[in-house]
């Protein structure tokens, strides 16, 4: 597959021809089920779009039954920004319902396969986007990352996935899961493409109050893999990871040393706090964000015998995991429990932020696993608690609002990709991409 950088040089005619071929390739590998629908939104460089990002005129459903029949009447800001830069939405990709999941198995459209092994999951929730890029069926894709939903599937599918600093990329038009954690980000074949796509979609947006009003500085033209950085490693933190991941961690450390970076050892607070703070915050926000799906104004309504019954029947269309998180969110917000759960979770969130701040006083980047292991076999991660624990290495980045990038390090004995992530201080995307490019080159 040609890179994004190369594709941007193609003429309109060449792009047209390319897309015709691409359609055939997608058809030929229909069993991958990465795309849920191949739609074309313009004549720019085609970018695959996760099914929770609004594209005017498209059916956009967040992988859910409840949004069947809904046609988005407006573009997300990232879609408009892409159009301005000569890119256009091409195909919507499969995802866990409302981005709640780590395997892309909970979608209304069925499972997506891992391009490296059809019996394995592509990760989630942006599993469709990761799979189509990993399978050579997309130049690049957009995903969204609330607790690792870009980085973990990128890692499982052997591609690059980047989560920007919270506030860097407009959330306007992103079907919300957890408002204070969600970010849209690029999923690409290499680090440079990620930087290019990041530059295109980032920037202040008045339509998103949480978008940060900072001078837009592009990172691509300043990419510098020769910068010597101080990079923290976390020996204790990785103890729970699989041997594959530990091996890749060692490989990456050697590569970084070889490239001239300074490696220092640091410690993170126990990740079990991350899990609690994350699942309380995310479900509290999600339960309200998903409350609008009542079937009254749009989407799939199931008529009941009265209003209450209609609410009940309509909202029973949510899948099990979504229902579980709605219930959990309602519980942690209910009177009598609010202080014990939600308020405490926000305090923990502050502690996690401080933990990172302290580390970033001394280092430029942190090297961390993305997932405890490589891609799971389909159906093997059915226990919700086990699934929540699989997010252990990604969620603190969202809780602290940091930028991070997952990139492939090596393949294990089963030929499955192993990825790791680099994490930077808020708004230090330049450093993040510089370090990631250096690591990519030195592997």
């Amino acid at each position: 597959m040609i890179t994004l950088k190369e594709a941007l040089k193609l003429s309109k005619d060449e792009l047209k021809k390319f897309k015709e071929e691409l359609r055939k390739d997608i058809e030929a590998r229909a069993e991958l089920n990465g795309y849920v629908e191949v739609l074309d939104h313009g004549d720019g460089v085609p970018i695959a779009i996760k099914d929770n990002i609004q594209v005017n005129g498209w059916s956009v459903t967040s992988g859910s039954q409840i949004l069947q029949g809904y046609i988005a009447p407006y573009n997300a800001t990232v879609i408009d920004k892409m159009s301005e830069a000569g890119l256009s939405a091409f195909g919507r990709t499969n995802m866990d319902e409302f981005a709640m999941g780590s395997t892309t198995e909970s979608s209304f459209y069925g499972k997506t396969q891992n391009p490296h092994n059809a019996d394995c999951v592509p990760g989630g929730s942006s599993g469709g986007s990761a799979a189509v890029v990993g399978a050579g069926l997309a130049i690049a894709a957009l995903g969204s990352d609330t607790g690792g939903s870009i980085r973990q599937p990128a890692s499982f599918c052997g591609i690059v996935g980047m989560k920007p600093t919270y506030g860097r990329v407009s959330r306007f038009g992103l079907g919300a899961y957890a408002s204070s954690l969600d970010q849209i980000g690029p999923m690409t074949q290499n680090v440079e493409d990620a930087a290019i796509l990041y530059d295109i979609i980032s920037g202040h947006d008045e339509k998103d109050s949480t978008s940060v009003d900072m001078k837009d500085e592009s990172v691509t033209d300043k990419l510098n893999s020769d910068r010597k950085l101080k990079i923290a490693i976390l020996p204790k933190y990785i103890e729970d990871a699989s041997n594959d991941v530990k091996h890749a961690y060692g490989v990456a450390i050697e590569a970084l040393k070889k490239a001239g970076h300074t490696i220092v050892e640091k410690e993170m607070i126990d990740a079990k706090f991350d899990i609690s703070a994350y699942y309380i915050t995310a479900t509290a926000e999600a339960t309200t964000n998903l409350a609008r799906y009542d079937g009254l104004r749009y989407g799939s309504r199931v008529e009941g015998k009265n209003l209450k019954d209609t609410y009940f029947k309509t909202r029973s269309q949510f899948g099990a995991e979504v229902q579980r998180r709605i219930l959990l969110g309602n519980f942690v917000l209910s009177s009598g429990y609010y202080d014990a759960y939600y308020v405490k979770a926000q305090k923990v969130r502050q502690l996690i932020k401080q933990n990172y701040e302290n580390i970033f006083k001394e280092v430029d980047l942190i090297l961390s696993p993305v997932a405890p292991r490589t891609a799971y076999e389909s159906g093997s991660l059915e226990d919700p608690l086990e699934m929540y624990l699989s997010d252990i290495y990604t969620i603190s980045v969202n809780l602290a609002g940091l930028p991070a990038i997952a990139l492939p390090i090596e393949k294990n004995a089963d030929n499955m990709p192993v990825g790791l992530q680099l994490i930077a201080a808020p708004f230090q995307e330049q450093t993040l991409f510089d370090g990631a490019l250096s690591l990519e080159k030195s592997l």
């Binding site: 929770n52 990002i53 609004q54 956009v60 967040s62 949004l67 809904y70 988005a72 009447p73 407006y74 997300a76 959330r171 306007f172 038009g173 992103l174 079907g175 919300a176 957890a178 408002s179 204070s180 008045e206 339509k207 998103d208 109050s209 949480t210 509290a284 926000e285 339960t287 309200t288 409350a291 609008r292 009542d294 009254l296 104004r297 749009y298 209003l307 609410y311 309602n330 917000l333 209910s334 009177s335 609010y338 939600y342």
Partner: protein
């Protein structure tokens, strides 16, 4: 034996051009669901952006009631399902409202005063409207997302009268500030009343009952009286604990009763938490400087009218009770009417003629017309009595004051020559009465004045007639 405890929550719809969190217009007269967008329809991915105009108007209100205007306030989500609430949560300010700790002064007719504390005023989004047509229910979301300022008093009022006085004062303040149309019928000034009773001398607050959305001062007064009666009777019958529960009741104006809206067992849990889609609302020093310079308020205007215009305290209170009247008075004075004359006609004769829902604004008599009428009395062109006929005529006919006077032939005759001639004729025709008067029958003076007025068909200036009759009779 019981003391009444009343607290009031007033939802004031702010008259901003656009909605609270999107750029849809706030006018509702458009076709149903026309003034909507992804944000106020709660489409997937749409986000709220705070309309700064709402902060500006909140600052003005805070300043008007001597409150603290928080330089940083926050929004919270209040969850509940209802078809007119597209997000299924209301964006409001629970934990840190924009305005806190204000006061409102009540002045009673007997000259006493009372200070009512305002706990807070917070910004929140209005809901849409459900329309029920037979078996079907429809939702109109034109109003959804319109900014409200909810003004919450402390439970400081002790009678229905005090509550009404507070509401009228509050109403007049927001109208003076120009931050709301405050139209009760149209729902831009909505009142929820919290009522409880307690044995006199008891400091404890007992169970409060909320009565929702009553749309006139008169009905609010009635609703409070009826609810107090219900609670007092329950107490006296020994069933207070069972019958008076923390709940919301509706006032039924036809049946003259309050009725439970939802049972205790269904008490709502709103699951409030901070709104993650909005950052803190910041009032900058610059913004505060600009919007804390508020127009003259009712109390200040009243004091000025007493001091500068020579109105009595009572008259000044009445005329400043609404901005429309106060402005009308000032316009009349600018037209050359005296303050006392203008006030008398503005607060007496004019309102007496406003029938069938006609208001100061819809009446055909504008300030210039009424001022001219008063001036014609003051320059003795017409008598006070004739002016009333002129005013009646002006209600029916679109003419100037002078045209009306001519038409009605009511111009006063002050020409002494003409009046002297009339008096002479009357004295000749009534020579016997002249004799009797001169013989000491003083009462006959009125007879000569009356005859002269009659001869002039009422157009003679009575004062001039008086003087001439007196001189001629000697």
């Amino acid at each position: 034996m019981f003391e009444i405890v009343i607290g009031l929550e007033v939802h004031v719809q702010l008259n901003t051009n656009t909605k609270l969190f999107c750029s849809c217009p706030t006018s509702f007269n458009h076709k149903q669901n026309r003034n909507t967008c992804p944000t106020c329809l709660a489409l997937p991915g749409a986000l709220p952006v705070l309309n700064k105009e709402v902060l500006h108007k909140s600052i003005m209100f805070g300043e008007a009631v001597g409150a603290t205007v928080n330089r940083t306030s926050y929004f919270d989500r209040k969850s509940y399902f209802y078809p007119d609430s597209p997000l299924a949560y209301q964006i409001t300010q629970l934990y840190t409202p924009v305005v806190e700790h204000g006061v409102l002064e009540l002045d009673f007719e007997d000259g006493t005063h009372k200070t009512i504390r305002i706990n807070r005023a917070h910004i929140e989004a209005d809901a849409g409207k459900n329309i029920h047509e037979g078996d079907t229910s429809k939702v109109d979301l034109n109003r959804a997302g319109t900014p409200l300022l909810e003004i919450v008093s402390e439970p400081d009022m002790r009678s229905a009268d005090e509550a009404i006085l507070y509401l009228k004062k509050l109403h007049s303040i927001v109208r003076y500030l120009g931050i709301s149309d405050a139209n009760m019928q149209e729902g831009s000034f909505r009142v929820d009343v919290n009522v409880s009773i307690r044995p006199r001398g008891d400091e404890k607050l007992y169970t409060r009952v909320e009565i929702k959305n009553i749309n006139s001062f008169r009905f609010i007064q009635k609703a409070i009286e009826i609810e107090v009666k219900r609670q007092s009777e329950a107490w006296e019958d020994g069933v207070y604990e069972d019958e008076i529960v923390l709940e919301t009741r509706l006032f039924d104006q036809n049946k003259q009763e309050t009725r439970s809206m939802r049972g205790k067992e269904e008490a709502a849990d709103y699951r409030y938490f901070p709104e993650p889609d909005l950052l803190k609302a910041i009032v900058t020093e610059e913004m505060y400087e600009k919007y804390s310079k508020i127009p003259e308020l009712p109390d200040a205007k009243r004091d000025r009218f007493v001091k500068e215009l020579g109105l009595t305290e009572y008259d000044a209170n009445v005329v400043t009770s609404t901005l429309e009247m106060a402005n009308f008075l000032e316009e009349m004075i600018a037209e050359g009417a005296t303050a006392v004359g203008a006030n008398k006609w503005l607060t007496g004769e004019l309102p007496a003629r406003l029938n069938n829902g006609m208001t100061l604004e819809t009446s055909p008599i504008n300030s210039k017309l009424l001022a001219t009428l008063v001036k014609r009395i003051e320059d003795k062109t017409i008598s006070n009595k004739a002016a009333k006929d002129v005013l009646d005529y002006l209600f029916e006919n679109e003419v100037s004051v002078d045209e009306a006077i001519d038409k009605l032939g009511l111009k006063q005759v002050s020409d002494t020559g003409a009046i002297e001639k009339m008096v002479d004729d009357i004295m000749v025709a009534n020579a016997d009465k002249v004799e009797q008067y001169r013989g000491g029958k003083d009462k006959l003076f009125g007879f000569f004045v009356g005859q002269t007025m009659k001869a002039s068909k009422g157009s003679a200036n009575p004062q001039v007639v008086n003087e001439i009759v007196k001189a001629k009779l000697g």
